[in-house]
C-alpha cells in the first residue's frame, strides 16, 4: 500500500518536473532551431513548422471576375463571403478558402495536409564566424562583395578579459569574506553594511567618474583597467555570497587548526578555500557569465581600439543598425552561449552535488 503510494507520488513529481522542464526548454529550443534555418524562412514561418504538422495546402485556384467589389459580399460557388472572411481564410467542411491575390481576385481552395519545413542551412553560422558579407555597389555599377572581420581575435580578447575578471574578484572577495566571518577588527559591521548597500548601486553611476580616473591613469583600453572594473562591480555580490558560505563553516575546524599553530593565511588557503569549492564553483559561474556577456562595461572602458574588442561588441556590431538580421542574431546568440554552457557543464558537478552550507554541519 505504502509502496504504491510512493510510486504514485514519484510519478506525479516526475510529470510536474517534466512539464516545467519542457516549458523552460522551449525558448532555447526555438532559438537553436531558428539558427539553422535560412534567413527568409525565419521571417515567414515559425520554427515549430520544422516538426510534422498539419498545414493548408492549395489544391485549386479560383479566378473570380476582375470587377468583383470587395466591399460587397463575394460569391463563390453559390455561397457568399465577405472580404474579411477571405482574408483570414474561411473553413467549409475540410477545405479552406483564402485569397491568393486579392488584386487579381484569385482565391485558393486549400486542403489540410501533413507538412514539415526541413530546409536547414549552416550559412548563418558561416557568416557569423568568418565575417559577414556586404555587397557594395561600385562606380561602374557592378557589385563587390566584402567580408567583415572574423571573431577569432575578439574571442581571445574575451578570454583574456573574462578569466582574470572572474578569478580576481573571487579571490579578493573570499579573503574579505573570511576576514568578515572569522576575524575581529574595528569597523567590521559598518563595512559589511556598506557592502550590502553597494549590492544595489547600479554600475552605471560609476561609469563617468571611473572613466575620468582611468583616463588620468592611462588605464583605458587596457586589460588591467577592465579587470579592475569587473572586479569592483562584482565584489559586493561575491563578498556577500562567500560570507554567507564561509561564516557557516563549522567553528571547530578553525579551532583545531589554531591549536596546531596554523596562521590565518594557511587556514584560509588550506582549509577554507578547499571546503568552499562548491560555493566558489557556483559564484564563479555567475561572475564568468556576467563578464563574458557584458557589453556596457566593455563599450565604455575598451572603446574603439579594434585590437582589444571583445565578442559582445563584435556581435553587437554584426547585428548593426539594421536590427532585423534575425538569422545572424540567432546564430551569433548561440555562438556566444557556447563558452558559458561549456563552463557550466564543466563545473556543474561541484555544485549540483549538494555540498553547500549546512551539509557540512549535518
Amino acid at each position: 500500500m505504502k509502496k504504491k503510494e510512493k510510486k504514485r507520488s514519484k510519478w506525479l513529481v516526475n510529470t510536474v518536473l517534466g512539464i516545467i522542464s519542457i516549458i523552460w526548454l522551449i525558448p532555447t529550443l526555438g532559438l537553436f532551431i531558428s539558427s539553422f534555418r535560412p534567413a527568409t524562412d525565419i521571417l515567414q514561418t515559425g520554427w515549430w513548422t520544422i516538426f510534422p504538422h498539419r498545414a493548408w495546402e492549395t489544391t485549386v485556384e479560383l479566378e473570380l471576375s476582375k470587377d468583383v467589389d470587395l466591399r460587397q459580399p463575394i460569391e463563390i460557388d453559390g455561397t457568399s463571403y465577405t472580404d474579411e472572411e477571405l482574408r483570414k481564410g474561411i473553413k467549409i467542411n475540410d477545405q479552406r478558402l483564402i485569397w491568393e491575390n486579392r488584386r487579381a481576385r484569385i482565391v485558393n481552395v486549400q486542403d489540410k495536409v501533413w507538412n514539415m519545413n526541413t530546409d536547414f542551412t549552416l550559412e548563418n553560422y558561416m557568416s557569423v564566424l568568418t565575417g559577414k558579407e556586404y555587397s557594395i555597389m561600385q562606380p561602374d555599377g557592378s557589385v563587390r562583395v566584402e567580408k567583415g572581420s572574423d571573431l577569432s581575435q575578439a574571442f581571445w580578447n574575451t578570454v583574456a578579459v573574462s578569466i582574470p575578471g572572474t578569478i580576481i574578484p573571487i579571490l579578493i572577495a573570499s579573503f574579505a569574506a573570511y576576514a568578515f566571518a572569522w576575524m575581529n577588527f574595528p569597523g567590521r559591521r559598518v563595512m559589511f553594511v556598506i557592502i550590502i548597500a553597494l549590492l544595489v548601486v547600479p554600475l552605471q553611476v560609476a561609469l563617468i567618474p571611473v572613466l575620468k580616473d582611468y583616463t588620468a591613469l592611462g588605464l583605458n583600453g587596457s586589460l588591467l583597467g577592465i579587470w579592475l572594473a569587473h572586479t569592483a562591480f562584482g565584489l559586493p555580490l561575491i563578498t556577500y555570497f562567500m560570507y554567507n558560505y564561509i561564516s557557516q563553516l563549522p567553528r571547530d575546524i578553525f579551532e583545531s587548526a589554531y591549536i596546531d599553530g596554523a596562521s590565518n593565511f594557511s587556514i584560509f588557503s588550506r582549509l577554507v578555500l578547499p571546503l568552499s569549492v562548491p560555493a566558489l564553483a557556483s559564484i564563479s559561474i555567475f561572475q564568468f557569465l556576467w563578464v563574458w556577456n557584458d557589453y556596457l562595461v566593455a563599450l565604455v572602458f575598451i572603446g574603439s581600439q579594434p585590437d582589444v574588442q571583445v565578442l559582445s561588441m563584435k556581435i553587437a556590431d554584426l547585428v548593426g543598425s539594421r536590427g532585423s538580421d534575425w538569422h545572424l542574431l540567432t546564430s551569433a546568440a548561440f555562438i556566444s552561449m557556447l563558452m558559458p554552457l561549456t563552463v557550466f557543464f564543466l563545473l556543474q558537478k561541484y555544485f549540483v552535488k549538494g555540498l553547500l552550507g549546512g551539509s557540512i554541519k549535518g
Binding site: 572603446g303 574603439s304 581600439q305 543598425s321
Partner: protein, 468 residues
C-alpha cells in the same frame, strides 16, 4: 610550522622573480621601442595646441598627402555600424593609403549615451559623428569641442558648402560662437517610397496634393489593402521616425518662421500649430484602414522592416514615408527606378510652397592634433564620400561632389528636389537639444502612438524636456 613558512617565503620570492623576468624584462625592451601613442591621447593634445604652420607648408591636408603624419592614428566614434561602416571604411581607404594616417572607426548603436560617457569621462574620440546637431550643441556649450574655423580655410568652406550648412554648424560655445564641426553626409527626408511597377499596374497615380494623397489611401483601402507602411521601432531610439512625420507636416501647415521658433523652443509643443500637425498625422496613423497592420503595428515594427511588405507580390502595402537612406533596408535584388521609386510628400497648404526636410551628419573634433586637423579637412571634400555616394543611399552636402557620382537617376532627382525647394529645413528633432530631440520627443511620440497617453499629455511631456 616554521619550515612551512620558509617554504612560502621561497615560493613568494621565486614567483615574484619569475614575474620580473618574464614581464618586466620583455616589457622594458618593448617600452624602449618607439611605440605609437595610444590613439585616444586622453585629451592631452587639447592642451598643447599645434603651432600655426608657416604658409609655405600648405594646409594640414596637403601636409598629410605629403606623408607628414604617416603612422599616426585618429580615432572616430559614431552611430553607424554594419554595412554603413563598411561603406565608410571604403570611402576613407584611399586617403589612409596615401597619407599613412590610420582612421580607427568604432560604431555603436548606443552612440547617444556612450558619447556622453566618453566625453564626460575625458576619453573623447578624436572625431565624433553626430547625426543630431542638437546633441553636439550640448558639448559645444560646455566647451569640449574644438573650433574648426581656427584651422579650416573659411573661403574654401564658403565655396564648398551652402551657407545654411555653415550656419547650422555654427553653435554657441563657452566663449562665444564657434564652428562646431563640418557636414559630411546628408539625406532628404520628405520622400514617399512606393513599389513603382506594381503601383502603375494597379492603376494608381502619384498624388500631387495632400488631398490626392488621402484619396489614394482611400482608393487603396477600397481595393482592400492598407496603404501605409509605418514603423517607428528602433531600440532605445524608438520614435524618431514619428518625429520626422511631425516635422514634415509642420513645414506644410505653418510658416518656416514658426518652424524655426518651434525648433528653438520658443513655440511650445502644446501650441495649436504643433497639435494640428500631430492631428494631421493621425488622420493617416490612427486610421486602421490606412496603416498596414493597424495602429498597433506602428510601434512594434522596426523602421527598417516597415517597407519590406511593399515588395511582396502582390504588395501588401504601398506607401512609405522615409529618408533616402531607407533604400539600404530594401530587400536585395530590387532595381531603383523600376521596382521602386519615390515621390515628394505633397504640400498640404498651397501658401507654404514646397518645403523639403533634410538631415545630415556633422563631424565634430574633440582632440586637437595636426593629423586630426588633416582628417577633418579631408572630410570637407567631396572626395571623402565619393565611393559612398556611388554605392547609393547618401547625398553629399559639398559642392565639389559631382552629380555624376550618383548611382541612379533617383538620387539625382533628390539633389534636384533640394534645388527646387521653396523652403529647406533641417530635421527639427535633430536640432533640438538632446533632452528633447533625442529624448522626450521620441518617447512622447511613441507613447502617443501606442496609446499610453493622449495628445495633450504627450505634448506636455515632450515640452517638459525643454525645462530640464
Amino acid at each position: 610550522m616554521k619550515k612551512q613558512w620558509r617554504k612560502s617565503v621561497v615560493s613568494v620570492l621565486s614567483i615574484l622573480l619569475i614575474f620580473t623576468l618574464i614581464f618586466a624584462g620583455c616589457g622594458s625592451s618593448a617600452t624602449n621601442e618607439p611605440t605609437d601613442e595610444p590613439s585616444n591621447t586622453e585629451g592631452t593634445a587639447t592642451n598643447d595646441q599645434p603651432q600655426e604652420q608657416p604658409a609655405d607648408e600648405g594646409t594640414y591636408l596637403e601636409q598629410a598627402y605629403a606623408g607628414k603624419f604617416k603612422g599616426t592614428k585618429v580615432s572616430m566614434f559614431g552611430p553607424f555600424a554594419d554595412a554603413d561602416e563598411v561603406k565608410f571604411n571604403n570611402s576613407i581607404k584611399e586617403f589612409e593609403e596615401k597619407t599613412g594616417i590610420d582612421i580607427q572607426y568604432q560604431g555603436s548603436k548606443e552612440f547617444e549615451a556612450t558619447i556622453n560617457i566618453r566625453v564626460e569621462g575625458g576619453n573623447a574620440p578624436d572625431i565624433a559623428d553626430f547625426p543630431q546637431p542638437g546633441l553636439l550643441a550640448n558639448f559645444v556649450k560646455s566647451g569640449k569641442v574644438i573650433d574648426v574655423s581656427t584651422f579650416l580655410d573659411g573661403s574654401h568652406l564658403k565655396s564648398n558648402y551652402n551657407q545654411s550648412w555653415i550656419d547650422m554648424a555654427t553653435m554657441e560655445g563657452k566663449d562665444g560662437e564657434i564652428m562646431a564641426g563640418i557636414w559630411n553626409r546628408s539625406n532628404v527626408k520628405s520622400l514617399v517610397w512606393y513599389p513603382k511597377k506594381q503601383f502603375e499596374e494597379a492603376g494608381y497615380t502619384v498624388p500631387q496634393t495632400w488631398d490626392e494623397l488621402i484619396a489614394l489611401s482611400e482608393q487603396i483601402a477600397a481595393d482592400g489593402d492598407q496603404a501605409w507602411a509605418i514603423g517607428i521601432e528602433s531600440g532605445a531610439a524608438t520614435g524618431w521616425a514619428a518625429t520626422d512625420w511631425i516635422e514634415d507636416i509642420m513645414l506644410r501647415t505653418t510658416t518656416p518662421e514658426n518652424y524655426d521658433k518651434w525648433v528653438k523652443g520658443e513655440l511650445s509643443f502644446t501650441s495649436d500649430e504643433v497639435k494640428n500637425a500631430a492631428k494631421k498625422m493621425t488622420e493617416i496613423w490612427f486610421n486602421d484602414d490606412y496603416v498596414y497592420g493597424g495602429r498597433k503595428s506602428i510601434v512594434t515594427t522596426s523602421f527598417g522592416d516597415a517597407p519590406k511588405p511593399m515588395f511582396d507580390n502582390p504588395p501588401k502595402t504601398w506607401l512609405h514615408r522615409q529618408g533616402n537612406f531607407i533604400t539600404s533596408f530594401f530587400p536585395e535584388g530590387l532595381e531603383a527606378g523600376v521596382d521602386y521609386d519615390w515621390f515628394y510628400l505633397p504640400s498640404i497648404d498651397e501658401q507654404y510652397g514646397k518645403p523639403v526636410l533634410v538631415a545630415g551628419d556633422i563631424y565634430a573634433m574633440f582632440n586637437d592634433r595636426p593629423e586630426v586637423r588633416a582628417v577633418m579637412e579631408f572630410f570637407t571634400t567631396g572626395e571623402s564620400i565619393k565611393t559612398w555616394v556611388q554605392s547609393g543611399g547618401v547625398i553629399a552636402p559639398m559642392n565639389d561632389a559631382s552629380l555624376d557620382w550618383y548611382a541612379s537617376d533617383m538620387d539625382r532627382r533628390m539633389a534636384e528636389l533640394i534645388q527646387n525647394a521653396s523652403t529647406i529645413r533641417f530635421d527639427g528633432s535633430d536640432l533640438m537639444p538632446g533632452s528633447v530631440g533625442a529624448g522626450t520627443f521620441w518617447k512622447g511620440m511613441t507613447d502617443y502612438a501606442s496609446g499610453t497617453v493622449d495628445l495633450d499629455e504627450a505634448m506636455e511631456e515632450i515640452e517638459a524636456g525643454w525645462n530640464k
